[in-house]
């Protein structure tokens, strides 16, 4: 099925089974490999992207559901790697292996969009869907608080 996708402000025509998860269209077809595969069942959050500003797990989002919407991936979050979350992530030193961090950053950016000054409980709730096996959780929390400051909230 032919579809048009808007990804990071660029329009792509794709011809693919409509139920294909967005994740695999991003990674294998378009080559945006910053979005990661971790579980395929929406349980780890490594594949988190924004669809019309909302965080979604792209491994469980049919590509057809993204038609007519703005898809933002980690590569499109900022032009210069200077989104407040990205800046804060570097200041605090969040990533270790880094594999889950695209998803962590996209979830954190969506949280701050909705709640510029999130409480600890809001952070836990917004980020509980993003697994990190290196155990960077403490720094993710600190990073979100720092990003909130950098955004002037």
């Amino acid at each position: 099925m032919a579809m048009t996708l808007n990804i990071n402000g660029v329009s792509h025509s794709v011809d693919i089974e409509p139920e294909t998860p967005l994740l695999w269209v991003l990674r294998d077809a378009i080559g945006l490999t910053g979005t990661k595969y971790g579980c395929g069942i929406s349980r780890c959050g490594a594949c988190t992207v924004h669809v019309d500003g909302q965080p979604v797990k792209s491994c469980q989002t049919a590509v057809s559901a993204a038609v007519g919407k703005q898809v933002t991936t980690i590569e499109g979050l900022s032009k210069d790697n200077n989104h407040p979350v990205q800046q804060a992530w570097r200041e605090v030193g969040v990533p270790q292996c880094g594999y889950c961090q695209s998803g962590q950053i996209m979830s954190a950016a969506a949280l701050l969009q909705k709640s510029p000054k999130p409480t600890d409980r809001q952070i836990d709730e917004a980020m509980a869907g993003n697994l990190c096996r290196c155990g960077t959780y403490q720094r993710i929390k600190a990073g979100i608080r720092r990003a909130s400051q950098l955004s002037g909230a």
Binding site: D28, G93, V94, C97, Y99, Q138, K141
Partner: protein
Amino acid sequence: MVETNLSRRNFIRTSVGAAGGLLLGFHIPEAEAAKTESRPWTTPTKGVEINAWLSIGEDGTVTIRVPHTEMGQGGMTSVALMIAEELDVEWSKIQAVFADPNRHLRNNREYKVMSTHGSQLVWLQHPHIMGAGASARERLKEAAAQRWGVPRSEVTAKQGVLRAGARQGTYAEFATAAAGVKLTEEPAIKQAKDWWLLGKDVLRLDIQHKTNGSAQYASDTRLPGMVYAAVRACPVPWGKLKSFNAEAIKNRPGVVGAFDLRAVEGKRGQPDLQDCVAVVADSWYRAKTALDLLPIEWDFGDAAKVSNASLSAEAKKALGEKGLLTKDDPKALETIAASKKVVTADYERPFEAHLRMEPINATVHVQDDRVDVWSPTQDQSAAILLVADQLGLDPKNVYAHTMFLGGGFGGNGAGGTGVTRQAAELSKRLKRPVKVLWSREEDVAQDKQRPMAAARLTASIGANGLPEAISTRALWFAIDKMNQIGPATADYGIRNMPYNIPLRHHERHNLATHVPSSTHRAPGANQTGFMTEVFADEMALAGGWNPLDWRIEMTKDKDDWQRVLKTLKEKAGYRTDLRRGEGMGVAVVACHGTIAAACASVTVSRRGQLAVEKIVIVVDCGHVINPRGATEQIEGAACYELSHAWFGGLEMREGRFVNTNFDSQNLLRIDQAPEIESHFALTGGKKWGGMGEPAGPPVPPAVANAIFAATGKRIRSTPFRLHDLSWA
């Protein structure tokens, strides 16, 4: 219109519309990667090579070639720091790239060690890594000395500038001459008191790439003409493939074909290939979807009778029988038999998978004159030898490309896993690049697991409340066809526990299993540390001692243990008088040359809901070259072990593991993660220890001991989630 034509039927066509450029492929804009940043997969190594480890460019940029892998442990930054310290060059002039594994093998293991394991990079390898930087510095000085006609002893090398009297020049000016200098004697490395860079907080070099999606992992490899494979090995390890019906999926979109790969008898070294089926397609999702629809017949063999319950019964039986005696004081058993006060307890921990975030994968491209490998391995040189072995080729024609690892945790050793053999075999048959990616379920079911372990510990308590004799019997399910775990692992941490118990008797059992096993972050200590340190609490409390004071008393002749435990006492505020439902617990475990102690604070609701509030950790690893990086490793290792002990544990039914994804094995998440406070209590001097692993093992026993303090319930097995912690 741009087509991404991958196969006989297109997976997708893409075209680019209005804004922005074509987004096929990937590169990092120059502006994004400042000179302080690593550009491991794009940076051409310009400049003059002083030795295999570094080149100096005309602008003074020093490119350091890192032979190790970067799996989150900060190895790339550590290697660069150690060389920059000796070379004495501004940190902002440093960039790091991954070294060429093929060169390493061609030149007689030029980097000495390419494998990244055992927390060894700084601990054991700092002499030759720092030595490479020191040698380069002395050769630059010698080149300047010769040109200026002065003795080398009169030349200084600081921050990229050589000076002697009124003369000076940059390292870059002397790089070519230095490359030709041969020293009669290699210099000694610096003492810690002379460090100007090591010991300071430094941000990891790969941070830019790990915040914008540009860090390239092996699973991100994309090559022209590449096809994708999804694979399934027998769910019961070492079962045989009987048949599969490729007709059932031949009309699926994008499918290239279904292939069988067979275990080769006699090729059961590390890491191995088991019988499996691979479905190849023009995208991984199409391959995986078709594989799920493929009818496959297996011969599961006798192992299909095995379950967690049967393994547990087998362990229990063995713990009641004599094992191999590896430590014996004949009076130990007599003393225990005659004692009025005896403490005895059995402990057990299940198989655990590594569950790194990046599922196991490999991409191999077999061509007539060369083979290229992209593998998430902790040893790229081993990946070369593995592929050469699989294909019967000369290793000099095999090229491995080092990529970032999405976690390793000891499970990606020597050549990755059998997945690399799978990719090599498929690429050979299909004559094109093939990426094999294991689904998460495959990654867990076919991982080489951390072995199940058990122990029976018995001690007699003397009149002063301290143990006078101990008898220990430890057991590992470690004999499998891989033989990755040495039999002595069963002794680890138990036979040599640090406590001054006058009489000791120790036996071990190693039981056979069909489950392949391998190293796993903090091997040995990760399982036995829990057993010995929960038992330490049991001994202390039986004798009426405060568990932390007991540990200090029982190690009083060991300076480094005293330093760690007394620092813990000072920092953690350990108390035993909290109200019911709240508890603190301590534990201390040594591994990889490092001692780590932990104090955990927990709350347990009446209904048994556990919350781990805080963990204070004190570490003696001798020296710390980058406190920021070391602290990250403490936090990471602590969460890693807590995650297994609380939520992990593989469950086996009918010979196969059944909790193979993050729904049924729901590991530690942010809302459960404790606050972690890290302290160093460093011995310094000649003592060096590892940092990537040791902070993990004391955490599960500290938490279990805290649970006892809170509830009176003694936890002697993991995962905690299976225990009823409710109290009234």
